[in-house]
Symmetry: C2
Subunit: 262 residues, 2 copies
Amino acid sequence: MGGIGEDVAAGERLFSTGHQLRPWDLAVLASTGIVDVEVFHRPLVAIIPTGEEVVERGASLEPGQVWETNSLMTASFVKKMGGIPRISKIVTDDPQLIEQSIVAGSDADMIIISGGTSVGERDHVPAAVETLGELLVHGVAISPGKPTALGVVDNKPVLCMPGYPVAGLIALIVFGKEAIRILGHFPNRPSTVIRLPLKEKITSRQGYHTYVRVQIRQGEVEPLMVSGAGILSSVARADGYVVVPPNIEGYGAGTVVDVFLF
Amino acid sequence: MGGIGEDVAAGERLFSTGHQLRPWDLAVLASTGIVDVEVFHRPLVAIIPTGEEVVERGASLEPGQVWETNSLMTASFVKKMGGIPRISKIVTDDPQLIEQSIVAGSDADMIIISGGTSVGERDHVPAAVETLGELLVHGVAISPGKPTALGVVDNKPVLCMPGYPVAGLIALIVFGKEAIRILGHFPNRPSTVIRLPLKEKITSRQGYHTYVRVQIRQGEVEPLMVSGAGILSSVARADGYVVVPPNIEGYGAGTVVDVFLF
């Protein structure tokens, strides 16, 4: 039953670097007497929620305040991608405090900082990244998600995701997922895509890769397009998303589109 | 940014029973002030390795002995499927000790017992299940995996998987996976299947659903068919498997087949 010699020859290379060990691979290793193997560590991701208006979940809300939920979403997302999330306390819109939190987070393998990425007087996050390291890009051609910024501090990638939940989620999907995959040396896992016709037309934002949340109902794709990058409940109802490229204005009803399943 | 009222109406049903909460779903719930939700528990799976010839990993081997690896493979498989594995000590081929171990495991949501399922004088597992509860089936038309037995003890499903590693793995894929999914109320997740031509012919065992491990190389499917259900290293090299139905003798080279990816 899988003894030495019978199954694996001495000196035989069983797995290459980067191979993700599956249940039976562990058994093969163990059957040859290998009980410890060197593996890549799961990337530790420091998650920093920012914003004057966000308060801890469970705290009572003053007018104009909302509960902070992006760190919860991000932590769960990071875990799903194979990383280890570490959530910091909420940081208010203060340049110095934001810089401090980034420095504190830079012992991790990656930093995801939420909020404060637009171009307003309360948006200090991209500037903080620039002060501490290198701001690579601020503003990307995705919608929602335009205010996303990317940078490097202390050799660690920093993803500045917009505070609006849906925009933040798209930033996680477009940039966070791949960054965690690379940091964790996880194999490339293509998204599950299905091709189905649209029930209604999709209008998109020209010049942007538009991410449209959709439902699949009876073999048809129903867009859940709603105005406002903050409307997270549209994502809760979604089965996946359709990406409209920047050079067209949308898709007509009946068009067969690629749906990326969540 | 996702405050109450703006996003979700009072009384609105956000999720139905059985919906698997995704990262953004947690954020939607939290944004409405819901910080605790009732969820189905992950099924606890008692894993019982049996066999006179198997010894703890790391122990020194006498002639005829092998290290016990099925419990490791099964535990990792259970975890991957969303269950919680609990591994018992190795039980020797003694009817009473096997019964005791099954009784001890029946506090779990499911029992997977490995080895002792053939029809030999040292194979006491199916009889033990019959004594303690109900033996539903012993012997199934899958190859490898024929000696698999299924039963119920104390209302808990019992999967008796063959001790030969590849046969055991196929039993896990065919029966264990779906059992854990149902017990955990996980949504139905169809396997990822790709259709590609065979590089070489596949011969199968007539009257059985034959599970052939395959590699995918340059757009072609290469069978890793080797004799012996114990040759686990063939699975270590596999990208997935092809199932040949019982009523045919195999597939010829060039046939386009469905490959179930691991």
